[in-house]
Amino acid sequence: MNLALAKTETGRALSDAFAVARDRLPGAGKVADARQGAFEAYERVGLPHRRIEDWKYTDLRVLMREVLPSAAAPDAAALKRAGAALKLHAIEGVRRLVLVDGAFAPKLSETGNPEKGLGIRTLREALEGGDIALHAQLFAPENADSMVALNSAMMTDGLVIDVADGAVLTQPLHIVHIASGAAPSAMFTRSLLKVGRAASATLVESYIAADGAKAYQAHDSLIVSIGDGARLDHVRLVEDGREAFNISSSVVTLGANAHFNTFGMTSGSNVSRYQAVIAFAGEGSRVETNGVNLLNGRQHADTTLFLDHAVPNCASREIFRSVVDDRGHSVFQGRIIVRPDAQKTDAKMMTRALLLSDEAEADNKPELEIFADDVTCGHGATTGALDESLLFYLRARGLSEKEAQALLIQAFVGEAIESIANDALRELAISAAQRWLAARG
């Protein structure tokens, strides 16, 4: 840690911004104190850089340089642009919850007639309310990572969702983050999802932008707890504007005999980082994480996962596929820790990268730390180009070069996308992948 480095010109500008914003951020008393503590934690490190091992490949001091001023509350014009942008990720049969420029937009959302056992509040309400136990949960993520700390200090809105014990939600919950494209700005959001014992839910997160949106920064975080015997299906699609930054963190805790199936795909944004900590707190649980990066131009996307096997008899499967064209840069860091008591752990991780140009780059960093002796753990990583013999076969059957590549790319990412259980959500992910392929020309 280097205080002098943290106090760069942009660091000071942000300190001033926090000093100005502090009194307007939702929550007083203990909440304000927690924000202050988080901001100090952020200031001690500043923007993460390559000498911090977890951020080795994503040096925000080079890529991001500064944190933009906080977004203003969306006006009528911004809401109108956001409403039009919603079509891109419209899905039938979901409960839509929309955040425009980081603020909950009730008129674009569906909060009425909740299913039995479903409770929804906004983060703003939760922070301004007097539920001290809830405040503690909202500030639970550790401030050791400076971007998490910054998010804790600056968060303005988001969703606080409670699925009661035994409730089986039939309707997926869809949180849509939209940048309205007003002025270059930063949005700080945080959501909390509690899935009760033996409950079941599906959460979809979309990150999109209105037409013409230029530079903006989405800083998001998600806190999830999955109760004993519960199941959560999670789909995350980053299709932000091509000048956007998206820095998102998740903290997921599973009870006993719980099941977490998560899929993430990044095809948008200029620079993005998704970091997730998934911790097993009860035995007999299972996690499947599947991810896809589709990058071209000068896009940079970093997925950093930390699977914490702290208890025995849990299983985890990680599959990651990246497709990189032009001068794109894909990063996958997968860390698995098997703690001394976590016997009978079964953990596997497989990452594959497909490079479509000579200047494309993919970094895969698997890390296994195993402290128990009766476990099954494995990882594999491959990087390569499209198979010339397959391309020729397809072209000999009439497909153009781009069509042949598109078919093979779809097949390459297909295994990960197939992991999405819900048909409509799988279709949404496929259509996002097809948009990326179509944009290649």
Partner: protein, 250 residues
């Protein structure tokens, strides 16, 4: 005008000349067999006609319906009616056979300025052809050639040939790796596609395939040239005498 005219074709692969001035003329409705020992350049000829990268044409030309075939990309050639049945059809995991067939057929139709096939018409057509070739429906749902036996892979090639309705079919060592029953099914599929509007070039090392697909003309290749041409009787002579007599002639 001949359908295919190969004139004095010279081809090099990685600095080594494989074809040394090969000529061949094929008209509509004809079936030509090209025979020859291993390494005589039979497969090179089929690859160059289909447009496989890695072959350098250093002399001669190939005309297809009078057009310069060597100027066209492999997909343009396919849309114009050139079809190569591969000796070793590739496996494409993750691409369902049905998806592949529809994508390919519609790409060819689009390139020719024709409308895309409607889904029901397409399915009906595929099912009918598949049934005639003993290709079970579940094979069409699997990845292209993934887990297919040698015979199934070859039948999948003939299925495509029947669907795409090319005017020139090149069958590269269709009999390799097939037992007699599998070969008979494949040959029946090919014979069903013989037509006055279509020509076939059957490349084979052994005469036995020609008992099932009876050619109008037989050419013997050796050291990168056609060294002898004749009718189907020539294949029987070769069966008796072998290729050794031609090794020095070239």
């Amino acid at each position: 005008m001949p359908l295919l005219e190969v004139k004095d074709l010279q081809v090099r692969v990685e600095e080594r000349e494989i074809l040394h001035g090969l000529s061949l003329t094929v008209n509509k409705g004809e079936v030509h067999a090209i025979m020859g020992p291993n390494g005589s350049g039979k497969s090179t000829l089929s690859h160059v006609i289909a447009g496989k990268p890695g072959y350098e044409v250093i002399g001669g030309e190939i005309l297809f319906n009078g057009e310069d075939l060597l100027e066209m990309s492999p997909d343009e050639r396919a849309a114009k009616g050139v079809f190569l049945a591969f000796q070793y059809p590739v496996e494409i995991p993750g691409v369902a056979t049905m998806t592949f067939l529809r994508t390919a057929l519609n790409a060819q139709r689009k390139a020719r300025g024709e409308s895309e096939f409607s889904t029901p018409d397409f399915l009906k057509k595929v099912r009918a052809v598949a049934a005639s070739l003993n290709i079970p429906q579940d094979m069409l749902r699997r990845g292209v050639n993934v887990g297919f036996s040698g015979g199934e892979k070859k039948r999948n090639e003939i299925l495509q040939m029947a669907l795409f309705e090319p005017s020139l079919c090149i069958l590269d060592e269709m009999d390799s790796g097939l037992d007699i029953d599998a070969m008979r099914i494949a040959a029946d599929g090919v014979n069903a596609l013989r037509s006055p509007d279509r020509a076939m070039v059957v490349i084979t090392h052994y005469q036995r395939l020609l008992n099932y697909i009876v050619p109008d003309f037989v050419h013997v290749m050796s050291n990168g040239r056609v060294v002898k041409s004749g009718d189907k009787e020539l294949a029987l002579e070769l069966e008796a005498s072998g290729y050794a007599q031609f090794e020095d002639a070239a």
